[in-house]
Symmetry: C2
Subunit: 96 residues, 2 copies
């Protein structure tokens, strides 16, 4: 899996809302109504991440969720990260 | 819920393995076989946290899980944090 260039990443980021590129990874944050809503979304993301065999670095406190995606083996951001980012956006949109 | 003193916290920390007190919270880390094992444990913890109405600050990447507990309303560590910490230890022990 080839690491994308900063300009390729910027191009792809323009296609999804609310993500930014920083320190070799793409990042977003979400805020839900409460912990149950946040963890429900995390659970749906967990299943898809496992299917894609690509996993987020994420943290949660109560209703807040922070997600960072990068491809460790490639040392940066790859297509795999954008595939998972789009899946995450679809899950969050479906839950809202 | 009363904030515990540092000496009360140290006393209680001596009763559970692998936790430390730092920056007004108690912290631990776990390492599992893989993402599925880590997220399975997170799911069991999530249910218990919701029952206790007390939620962790936690982060996960693949098989690693970091957990910090504090009681926001009390500005520090309280009995609630130790109750949840013991529950977490029981869940992890049961899964291992």
């Amino acid at each position: 899996m080839t690491k994308l260039s900063p300009s390729e990443i910027e191009q792809k980021l323009s296609e999804i809302d609310g993500w930014e590129y920083q320190e070799n990874a793409i990042h977003t944050t979400f805020e839900f109504n409460d912990f149950k809503d946040a963890f429900s979304v995390m659970t749906r993301i967990a299943f898809e991440a496992e299917i894609q065999q690509h996993h987020p670095e994420w943290s949660n406190v109560y209703n807040k969720l922070q997600i960072s995606l990068s491809t460790h083996d490639s040392g940066g951001v790859t297509e795999k990260d954008f595939t998972l980012a789009k899946t995450i956006e679809e899950i969050v949109a479906a839950e809202s």
